[in-house]
């Protein structure tokens, strides 16, 4: 494997792996915060047990997230030393701020997880607040840096010298407001559906107690709020890209030639070699209307960019369309669920088909997160810092990149298998006797013994 490909593969694998844990790390604390809050207020053992069990799952997930995040931070330099030199100098402080947000999460997560019996209930509950804030803040800081890579501002580049650095204007680059909101919402959507899917699975296997219903209700409530907002945010993003990142937009919609009256291609394969579209469903004028509010709207095609500056539209277009498709499918499912629930006066819909659909939404939402990230990253190629630094110029000259890629990939596979096995075994553990006295008197240690994963 040539070094550039090895480095890109290693970075890509690391991010595909890490993003799942960062999404869970932002979303799960919100669920724990709500569940424990309700539990304390109503003295409800079911909500309490939910919060407590989520915290155990979160402990494992956080640990893997922390170490896989460390890999990514190191890899920014180990694989892309030239990239980190420019990025560090211009927008590096964002990573340092993210470090503080991460500190906040780690500190209070330690307190939350090990403090169930050491702290008064209210203090314990409040210790989840910094985790929720820290999670969202980390996402904001990191995605802001990624936004800057897409629309770099705050510096001048003259003869290989960077001058006039203005980090504040780099932070508030045009992409920041769109991308950060989209990513943070994605965390809540994916976590909502991910947790709901776990309970849908157990309900399909015949476990239908209050515990599973309440867990699924809260998860789907978060999804109900976040999913429509996410779709609106997605529309804002796409419109923004249609003028701010035109090459990426052309790849997303598979537009080869600059024109007005551009149709919307749903699915299909945009072949860059022949500049032809295969197997797509076309809606006349669709892309022009969606992006410019008029069939006369002119969309820049890939032909507006030099051949060496074009992203490959196949992966970008397919990722984009699948992500959008998943977004609408999950919205449909969550609306049906709540419509049935409310129409039947708060009787939990336990229809098999609906539960199957909810189960499907879990993995699909995480797939959508991965695909959305592919759209952003692959759509920016061949640049790592758009229009300033090519990915091929940023790669390291260090040896052994192939070995490094192989070793780290093997590590990810081992970690993923172990983690899934552990989480499944934990979820299958029988519930404790659900009375308020019983669940609150358990010590953390006992909990582990009883869960006995």
């Amino acid at each position: 494997m040539p070094p550039l490909l090895a480095a890109r593969s290693q970075m890509g694998t690391s991010l595909v792996f890490h993003i799942i844990f960062s999404v869970l790390g932002v979303g799960l604390p919100l669920l724990m915060f709500i569940a424990e809050g309700v539990a304390i207020r109503k003295k409800d053992p079911v909500w309490f047990t939910l919060a407590r069990r989520w915290s155990i799952a979160a402990a494992i997930i956080f640990a893997i997230g922390a170490v896989s995040g460390t890999i990514v931070e190191f890899e920014l330099g180990l694989l892309w030393p030239t990239y980190i030199r420019y990025t560090g100098e211009i927008i590096g402080p964002m990573f340092a701020f993210e470090g503080f947000a991460f500190f906040l999460e780690a500190i209070f997560f330690g307190i939350y997880l090990y403090g169930w019996n050491r702290l008064p209930p209210l203090v314990h509950w409040l210790s989840s607040v910094p985790i929720v804030i820290g999670g969202a803040a980390s996402a904001w800081f990191i995605v802001t840096t990624n936004s800057w890579m897409n629309t770099p501002t705050g510096f001048q580049f003259k003869g290989n010298q960077i001058t006039g650095i203005d980090t504040i204007s780099a932070i508030f680059n045009p992409t920041t407001p769109y991308a950060t909101v989209h990513m943070i919402l994605a965390c809540y959507v994916a976590c909502g559906f991910g947790v709901a899917a776990v309970y849908a699975y157990f309900m399909l296997r015949g476990r239908r107690s209050d515990y599973y219903r309440k867990g699924m209700l809260l998860a789907l409530a978060v999804a109900l709020i976040a999913t429509p907002l996410q779709i609106v945010s997605g529309d804002f993003n796409a419109r923004f890209l249609s003028y701010a990142q035109q090459a990426k937009f052309a790849a997303m919609e598979g537009v080869f030639k600059t024109a007005s009256h551009v149709p919307l291609h749903i699915g299909g394969i945009p072949d860059p070699a022949t500049e032809q579209y295969y197997f797509s469903i076309d809606i006349p004028n669709g892309t022009s209307i969606l992006a410019k509010d008029s069939p006369n709207g002119v969309i820049k095609g890939l032909d507006a960019f030099k051949p060496q500056d074009r992203p490959n539209p196949i992966a970008v277009h397919l990722s984009f369309d699948t992500m959008v498709g998943i977004g609408f499918f999950t919205l449909f499912v969550v609306i049906i669920f709540w419509a049935l629930y409310l129409l039947r006066r708060r009787v939990f819909p336990e229809n098999r088909l609906l539960l199957l659909a909810v189960l499907l939404c879990g993995p699909l939402s995480f797939l959508a997160v991965e695909l959305g990230w592919m759209v952003t990253e692959l759509g920016r190629q061949p640049w790592v810092i758009y229009n300033f630094l090519r990915t091929s110029e940023a790669v390291t000259s260090a040896p052994f990149l192939n070995i490094s890629f192989l070793v780290f990939s093997a590590v990810y596979v081992i970690l993923a298998i172990t983690l899934i096995a552990l989480l499944l075994r934990q979820a299958r553990q029988p519930l404790p006797e659900l009375t308020w006295e019983k669940v609150t008197s358990q010590s953390g240690e006992q909990e582990y013994e009883e869960v006995g994963v």
Partner: protein
């Protein structure tokens, strides 16, 4: 604004010390899991798990802060180190990943076989990281990373493989083990397990002696392998190095006599002075012989923003960390002047044992 890089570097150096005394001890504790033997083997591991559980992730974040702080404030230096130390840093990173995940897996996997297997991964990986971080530090200190006009001149594969770097790597392992053993004497005493405290007292003394030996060996090897560092030390770091040695002896004495709560801050100070003497010896170079702190520093406006951010961040983080350690490490801990139960020593003329304050 010429002083900005110096302030930031000092903060980063303090973070390095924090990582060494906190994260380093977590690595050391992992080694004691590997070396747990005797009838109390299971209790030893349990004590270590309880000591690490609430704090290891927070301690680990210091490493992340160091990395991002370095590339924000000294982008060229970080990019150079990433290239020349690709192999040792990748290996250290591998250790970090395996250690963290293995710890989570073994704490939460209560099934015997799984726990046992991940325990081995956990304890073996805790040796890898300190060793390769030590090797990397020695490679920087050796002054062989040549940077000409922004590009690196070095034998990328093997220049870091020399006796000096290997000794420093081994010393890092021994130091981590010493730190952990001393902390564990306090943890064990706080839980009224005097037998366990004595076990770790003995291990702390042995690991400390090995650290001192390797340190002396490293000092002997530095004139041929790290001449610039040696010169720098002779020129302006003699007092710091002397202080390091005296504090080390103090820590050993406190540990020997059973004053664990005094030995703990002393070994922390020892580590701080050790890393401090490295920093002072190589001043004003960041990566000798070509990159000084001044010419490796990034843009002043970025540094200023970074410093403001660090100050605000620390104002939030430091009290939070104290709160965390207060809950899990100081509440119900043994008293500062409390003396642990140590084996009777037969020194002539000192037949009576000092009674414990308990």
């Amino acid at each position: 604004m010429m002083f900005l890089p110096y302030i930031i570097l000092s903060i980063l150096w303090l973070s390095l010390i924090a990582y060494a005394v906190l994260g380093g001890a977590d690595f050391g504790a992992g080694m004691w899991v590997l070396l747990a033997f005797g009838p109390t083997k299971e209790q030893q591991r349990k004590l270590i798990d309880m000591a690490l559980g609430p704090v290891w992730e927070t301690n680990h974040v210091w490493l992340i802060f160091l990395v991002v702080g370095l590339f924000s404030a000294f982008p060229i230096a970080f990019s150079v180190l990433s290239i020349v130390l690709f192999v040792p840093l990748s290996l250290a990173l591998l250790g970090v990943v395996m250690r963290g995940s293995a710890f989570a897996f073994r704490t939460h996997a209560k099934r015997r076989g799984t726990t046992e297997a991940w325990s081995y991964v956990f304890s073996l990986s805790t040796i890898i990281t300190p060793f390769f971080l030590g090797v990397s530090a020695a490679a920087v200190a050796s002054g062989k990373i040549l940077v000409r006009e922004g590009t690196v001149v070095a034998n990328l594969g093997t220049f870091w493989l020399n006796p000096f770097a290997l000794v420093i790597g081994a010393m890092a392992i021994a130091l981590c083990a010493t730190l952990a053993a001393i902390y564990l004497t306090v943890e064990a005493t706080s839980m009224d397990d005097t037998e366990m405290a004595r076990t770790f007292r003995l291990r702390g003394l042995i690991a400390g002696a090995i650290t001192a030996l390797l340190g002396a060996l490293g000092l002997l090897l530095s004139p041929p392998y790290a001449p610039q560092l040696w010169q720098g030390m002779l020129n302006h770091a003699i007092p710091v190095v002397a202080a390091t040695m005296i504090i080390g002896l103090g820590a050993a004495a406190a540990l020997y006599l059973g004053y664990y709560r005094i030995a703990r801050p002393l070994i922390i100070a020892e580590t701080a002075f050790l890393l401090g003497s490295w920093g002072v010896s190589q001043f004003p170079y960041l990566i000798p012989p070509d990159l000084t702190i001044d010419n490796a520093a990034g843009a002043p406006s970025t540094e200023l923003l970074l410093l403001i951010g660090i100050i605000i961040g620390m104002l939030i983080i430091i009290p939070s960390i104290f709160y965390l350690f207060y809950i899990f490490k100081f509440q119900g801990s043994m008293g500062v002047l409390e003396k642990g139960n140590v084996p009777e020593t037969r020194v002539p003329g000192r037949g009576t044992k000092v009674p414990s304050l308990k």
